[in-house]
Every structure is written in C-alpha cells, then in structure tokens.
C-alpha cells in the first residue's frame, strides 16, 4: 500500500516576500517582484530586469563567518528551510534524525560564487578565496541544510533545472514510500547568476519589460530567484506528533518530450502525458482537478504547448479550471521554481484562494483558457496540480489535495 504523505511545513524566500505570510499576501495581491538587477551589473545586457530577492538581511540569519562560506543560493535555502522547519514544529517535537532526509532541486546553485572566483582567476588575480569553490557542486545547498540540522536520512539533489524542484518533491516522496524516511525536506533554492542570465538572453527568451504569461504580447520569461522549501511527512508520523497539516501530496508524473533540447513539443503531447501520469499515480480523475499552477514561463512556445496539453487532458472542462501563472510575479526561479510554485499550490488549497496571472491584458487565441487574470479569486479547491517543464522536455506534474483525515 502506498503511504499517505502530507505537507507539514512551508518556507519561502522570493522577490515578493522573504517569508511565507509576506509571499502569500503578495501573490494574492498580485504584486510584481520584477526590478532592475543589482547582484551583478546588467548594463551591457539587452534586458536589465529580474525578480531579484531584496530586503533580506543576511546578518540577521548568519554569522559573518558563515556569510563568507555560504553562497546566495545556500542562504536562501537555509532561510526558507528554517522557516519550514519551525512551522512544522520539528524544532519542538522529538524525532529520529536518521529518518529525516533532504532532497532539493538545483538550477545554477552557487554559481554566483564560482563566477566571482573564476572572474578573478581568469583575469590573473588571486584575490578570490578558494572557499568560494565549495559551491561548485549543485549538492552544496542540500548538504548545508542536512549538516546544519544533523539530518541523517537519505539525501540527494535533482538537476533538471527548470523542473528540478518539482522533481525533487517526487523523489523525496519516494524516499518515504521506500521506507527510508518519515520526514523529508524538499523543494529547492536558486540564485541569479550571469551564466544563466546571459544564457536565457542569448536564446532570446527573456522579456525586457515584465513577464506576461499567456498574454498575446508575451516575449519570454523574467528570471527570478529564491527558495521554496516544503516539509513532507508520512501521515501517521505527522498525526502522532500533532503536526500542522497544510495539504496532502497525492503523487506526481515525470516524463520526457524526447523532442528538442530547448523547445517544447508544440502540440502539448508531452504536457498531456505528464498530467495523465500524475493523475493516475495520484489516483484522481481529471474531473476532480479544481485548479492548475501553470509552468507559464511566458515564452511564446511554452504557453501554447501547455495550453494545448491541458486541453488534451480536460477537454471542454479545461476552460472551467482556473489556472495561475505566478511567474508573472516571482519570475522564473529555475531550480527553485517548482518548489516555490508547490508552496503556492499548497497555500491555494489551504486558503481557498487562487493567485492571479498578472500583466494579462491581451488574450491570445492560442491560449484560450481561464488564467485567473490580474485578480485572485476565492474558490474552494480540493485538488490542485502544479506543472514544471524543463529544457529538453523534462516534464513534471505534482498533484496536491486539500487534507482530510479520510482517504
């Protein structure tokens, strides 16, 4: 029998808020986190904006020595983790640390630190400390979290970039199913860096103005950063320690388009398949789905393929399912996008409020669904999906359900 898995803790760092309450009120208020980049000099780029995290006082969270050793990505991850850990009351309840593991998704990880080192190195300077190179591995943030809290359960890092932290939630769930853990820390963290910024720019996938998912005027994504961390837990374990339960995680799908290195399969066939696999694994029928947190990157191709895929699964009813494109507010956070969007999806179920897709003004005939334009809506939702698709057609779909003690 599959074990039931619930979400008992949430933590966020994002361009629209550095804590869960702030993040959620920004999302339902339709706040845009896009601003001019400050973490590096964007003056020579075609675009100069990103959904950058601001107002985060690192010294309030870490010692000076720690700050020198932690990349921006590590800091986001640790701050969001600590919030999730506290909110799950794992700091108060006793638990077996050998049964608590960490699976995070990574994008560019601590490359911002590595870039700093190699910029100096290639320019013949030795002023950058080799300790910056600790961040060379994508596993670094995952290891920091486990080492800080002494978590001795299973540990790994997924690296499918734009779908990484959705995949990580699936993998964390399997650690519980395999009987290797009772509690898993999952989601992801990622920070802005020049490699990914210039990369998406070179592919002409970045909108110079703002992110307008599903709008006819969309020109691409706005890169974001932050962390979205979830504590997932085997239901009996959560009940035994009277943990707060935000929602249930029913299952997921993961598959590939096997189509192109960067472009999605245009007819939405891969999107359809991943949603069907997820529904089947989660044991829910298409009729039960009340809302979808879209991948919605606002690239011309993604939004059409995703819309087509959703229609292929839900048929006529697709138009009656409110869809959220929160990348319009938090940007595309790459390695943490799936984690941040999973947090939003869980909050949607718990609060009964669907966050909007902002900057939505001109409908695209090829994107003809209900994207919850500009205003959040109240709706009692029972089952919600969260989509994430990555380069190479790496698709992931997560299925969450409002928690009820009866199956």
């Amino acid at each position: 029998m599959k074990k039931r898995v619930v979400i008992t803790g949430l933590g966020v760092v994002s361009a629209v808020g550095n804590s869960l309450p702030e993040f959620w009120s920004s999302l339902i208020g339709g706040k845009d986190g896009t601003k001019e980049i400050t973490v590096f000099d964007p003056s020579s780029y075609r675009t100069k904006i990103a959904a950058e995290v601001s107002g985060l006082d690192a010294e309030a969270h870490f010692s000076k020595k720690e700050i020198r050793r932690l990349s921006r990505c590590d800091q986001f991850g640790l701050i969001a983790f600590r919030e999730a850990w506290r909110s799950a009351r794992l700091d108060q309840n006793s638990h077996d640390k050998e049964r608590v593991g960490v699976v995070l998704g990574a994008g560019s990880g601590g490359i911002l630190s590595v870039e700093k080192y190699f910029r100096d190195y290639y320019q013949g300077s030795k002023k950058s400390s080799p300790s910056l190179l600790i961040s060379y591995s994508l596993a670094t943030t995952t290891d920091h979290i486990a080492v800080e809290s002494g978590l001795k359960g299973p540990r790994t890092t997924t690296a499918t970039v734009c779908s990484s932290s959705s995949a990580s939630i699936g993998v964390a769930y399997e650690m519980i199913q395999m009987g290797l853990a009772d509690v898993m820390v999952t989601g992801g963290s990622d920070s802005l860096c020049e490699v990914s910024y210039s990369g998406f720019n070179s592919l002409k996938l970045v909108d110079p103005e703002n992110c307008k998912p599903f709008d006819k005027r969309r020109q691409g994504l706005v890169i974001g950063e932050g962390a979205g961390i979830l504590i997932i837990e085997e239901l009996e374990h959560a009940l035994r320690r009277s943990a707060p339960i935000h929602a249930e995680f029913l299952g997921y799908g993961i598959c590939a388009d096997a189509y192109h290195l960067t472009a999605p399969e245009p007819n939405g066939e891969g999107v359809e398949r991943v949603i069907r696999i997820a529904l089947s694994h989660g044991g829910v029928s298409p009729e039960e789905v009340d809302t979808i947190n879209a991948h919605g990157t606002a690239t011309p191709f993604n939004d059409i393929a995703e819309t087509r895929g959703i229609k292929r699964v839900f048929g006529e009813r697709a138009k009656a399912i409110p869809i959220s494109g929160i990348k319009s507010m938090v940007g595309h956070c790459l390695g943490s996008a799936g984690g941040i969007e999973a947090v939003a999806t869980v909050m949607t179920l718990e609060a009964g409020i669907i966050p909007p897709t902002i900057h939505y003004e001109v409908p695209d005939p090829l994107c003809d669904l209900d994207y919850t334009p500009n205003q959040s809506i109240k709706k009692n939702v029972r089952v919600a999906l969260s989509n994430s698709f990555a380069f190479g057609g790496n698709n992931v779909c997560l299925v969450f359900k409002k928690f009820s003690s009866e199956q």
Binding site: R46, E98, G101, A106, F118, Y122, L133, Y136, S137, L138, A139, T140, T142, D143, A146, V147, S149, L151, K152, G153, P154, R155, T157, T158, A159, T160, V161, V171, Q177, L180, E194, V195, G199, F200, N201, S202, L203, K204, I254, C255, A256, D257, A258, Y259, H260, L261, T262, G270, E272, R273, R276, I277, S280, H281, G315, A318, F391, G392, G393, N394
Partner: protein, 430 residues
C-alpha cells in the same frame, strides 16, 4: 474541442499493474554500457579490469604544470560516429557524447529494440556530478571576453546538467521517466536507486540508469584548490592507493556507465540475457561537514544495512574507497560494524584504483559488479602496497580472484555526506 483518441490509446499506463501489492516486481540487469579510461565497451573494460590495468596517466589536453598533481584517468580518443548519428553529434558536447555512447552500448549489449517497446514505459535516470563543466567554462569565458553579446546559445543549451539526459531521450525517443541527479559521488547510485524503485512499483518496463562525468580543466582546478587531489600537501607519491597507509587523496577520472534495469517479466518476455538482479538500495546521510566523508562509518553502515536484506549472503563489496584518509577508514569501520567478524573475510575491492575517482563513477562500477556476479570473479584493487592496519579488510590486492558470489554491495559515499549502497544478487530464476 477535438480530442485525439489515438494519443489516448498511446498514453502509457503508469498505474501499478498490481495495485494492491505494488512491490512485487523483481528487477534485473540486462545490459551494460561502459565508456571508461580502461576500455570502451564491456569486453575491453572487463578484460582490463581483471588484469588490473590502470587508466591513470599524466594529464593530456591541458597544462597542469602549475599544479602539485600531474595525473588523471582520461578517456582514450573515441570515434563517436560509431555510436551516434552524425547529424546529432553536432549538438552534443563531449560529456553528452560520452553518456549517449554508453547508452548505445548498453542497448546493443542487451539486444533491446526500442522500436518494439512502448516508448512511454522506457525511461532514463542519469547521475552526474558536474555534467558539462567544460561547456559551462567555455560559455563563461566567452561571456568574460566578449560580454553578453558573445554568449553562445548553442553552448548554453548543452551546459545545463540535464542536457546529457535530454540528448539520450531525443536520440533514442525515450519518452518515459526522465531525471537527472547531481549529488557529488553518489549521483549515479541515486539514479539507479530511483530507477529501481519505479520499476519495482511497475511504473516502467525498462530504465537506463547510471551516468558519468568528464575530467575538464576547470574541474581539475577546483578539485586542486579544494585540496582533494593526491598528493595533497604531503610528500608522498601521487596515485590511487585505496586502503594503503600512504594514501593521500584522489586522482580524477572520467567516463560513463549505464546499466539497463528492467522488470523480470519484461526481460523474460523478450528473452534477454540477465547479468544480475538488483535487490535493494539503502540511503543515509552523515553530517560531519560540507567536504567531509563519513569517516566514522556509521552512516555507510546504515546504508549497507538498509540496502541488503540478507547481509549473510554478501560475499563481495565493491568499495567506495577512494584513496582518501577519511573515506577508506570510514568504509572499513562501516563494513566491520555491519558484518562483525565476517567483515574481515568478505572480499573487498575498489575499482576506483584503476578508474580514478569521479562523481559519476558508480555507473561503470555497477557494470563491473554485475559482471563479477555473472562470471564469479572479483577484479583487483591496484596501487595498494602497504595496507593500512586501520583498514583491516580482506582487500583483493593486485590479482583478480575467482569466487562464487551470492550477493554483493556497491558502496558510494560523497564528501558532504550522502551515502548510498546498492545490493545486487546473482540471478537465479526462482
């Protein structure tokens, strides 16, 4: 809206086939693909492995004169056209070509014809520590030199860590599970664990599992600056010498290894040759520090115990030992913890002594372990001359050893503390 019914029929059934008892599938290894410094293809690799041939040589292709270290286990020149369609070769970087070639070799070895398969039930699960580190470096250098306008989109799309997995999926039309793990030295073991679990639950028929890494100049630089490379700051000789008193760090290697994992029913149905059975995976974490191995061995002991349901049948351990003071001792402690007295009797060997150490080495080492079970022979650990009394195990040194192996463990341990053990059994039909 028009509904395309044909697609619905083609949609893979991911429902567990036996929903009330999902954990009923036996998983077997039916294909091996090796691209290593001691041989491309399983035959050459295995022959050299048993002869104790070392892949370690002075580094070629970039200048190491400013480093303390000189050595690496690099791949030979490979004619990738033998494995990959020429039109597709153009969009792959070197590590992409290496991994895709290992998938091709595994497929050919197993006689798997993907045209005969439901592509949605064939998956790929890849581990890599640093993926396209050379491409990332090239991209970054072009950015430094020419600014954002000099950044090449072709480089960027192959620079992402999952590009190697996408290349395989695109090349062969693999539409099922697709995932990439990157967690230092346990990356490929995680990829195999995930594949094993999904197959066990009946969520796929066949999954290509494993992966690899390349030895690039930036990676060499990083390892050197972090003090990981032999001979370190010591005065000893440079080299891989697992469990030796004078071990002093790693020699970097490269390569890729893929095992084809499939459900026993599926393997039987297509009459596949079965090398071994995969029967368990154990994962656990140690928390001694960001760059520290499990030097006390508690966590590695736990991962072995979780992996092997019948430890009394374990006759061989393919060790994680990588010639570092911490890991080799930690692993020895762990083996003695798990097996007690028998810990000093079980045959242990570290293939890293020939292949060098790299994050994605587990795929190749898994191929080696499957061959050990199949042929009943254990490859030697080379380079070890004065065994460390603190690592008082039955290490197979210098010469391969014939031995019937009932079951065996493949260990991995990452600096930072992700420890994964896989349990393979000799295949028996009942």
């Amino acid at each position: 809206m028009e509904v395309d019914n044909k697609t619905f029929e083609d949609t893979p059934n991911s429902e567990p086939r036996t929903p009330n008892s999902p954990e009923t599938h036996r998983i077997v290894i039916t294909g091996l693909g090796v691209v290593s410094s001691i041989g491309v293809g399983k035959e050459t690799f295995w022959e050299n492995c048993l002869r104790g041939v070392s892949g370690i040589k002075p580094i070629q292709g970039f200048d190491v004169s400013s480093y303390r270290s000189r050595l690496g286990a690099q791949l030979p020149e490979i004619d990738f056209k033998a494995f990959i369609k020429p039109t597709n070769l153009r969009r792959m970087d070197r590590i992409g070509k290496v991994v895709v070639s290992s998938v091709r070799l595994a497929m050919d070895d197993s006689g798997l014809d993907l045209k005969e398969e439901n592509s949605g039930r064939v998956g790929i699960s890849i581990g890599t520590g640093l993926g396209s580190s050379d491409t990332v470096d090239q991209f970054f250098r072009s950015l430094l030199k020419d600014g954002p306008l000099g950044a090449a989109p072709m480089l960027f799309q192959t620079a992402v860590p999952n590009a190697i997995t996408s290349h395989c999926a695109i090349e062969y039309g693999i539409k099922g599970v697709n995932i990439t793990f990157s967690h230092k030295e346990s990356s490929t073991e995680m990829a195999m664990t995930f594949a094993y679990h999904l197959l066990k639950e009946g969520r796929a028929d066949v999954i290509f599992a494993g992966g690899g890494d390349e030895l690039s100049e930036p990676l060499y630089h990083v390892y050197s600056m972090l003090g990981a490379l032999s001979p370190g700051r010591g005065k000893g000789a440079e080299g891989m010498k697992p469990f030796d008193q004078s071990r002093n760090g790693i020699v970097l290697g490269e390569g890729s290894g893929i095992i084809i994992l499939e459900t026993l029913e599926h393997a039987k149905k297509r009459g596949a040759n079965i090398y071994a059975e995969m029967a368990g995976a154990g994962l656990s974490g140690s928390t001694d520090g960001l760059l520290r191995y499990d030097f006390k061995g508690d966590s590695i002991a736990r991962s072995m115990t979780l992996a092997a349901a019948e430890v009394q049948t374990v006759d061989y351990i393919s060790a994680a030992a990588n010639s570092t003071p911490d890991l080799d001792e930690g692993e020895a402690l762990a083996i003695k913890k798990v097996f007690g007295k028998r810990g000093k009797e079980i045959s242990v060997s570290s293939l890293k002594s020939m292949l060098g150490e790299f994050d994605g080495s587990g795929g190749i080492r898994a191929c080696g372990l499957a061959l050990s079970l199949y042929h009943g022979i254990i490859p030697p650990t080379i380079g070890t001359e004065h065994p460390d009394p603190r690592c008082d195990l039955n290490v197979v040194i210098g010469q391969a050893k014939k031995k019937e192996i009932r079951s065996a463990i493949l260990n991995s341990a990452s600096n930072g503390g992700s420890n994964i053990s896989l349990w393979f059994k000799r295949y028996r039909s009942s």
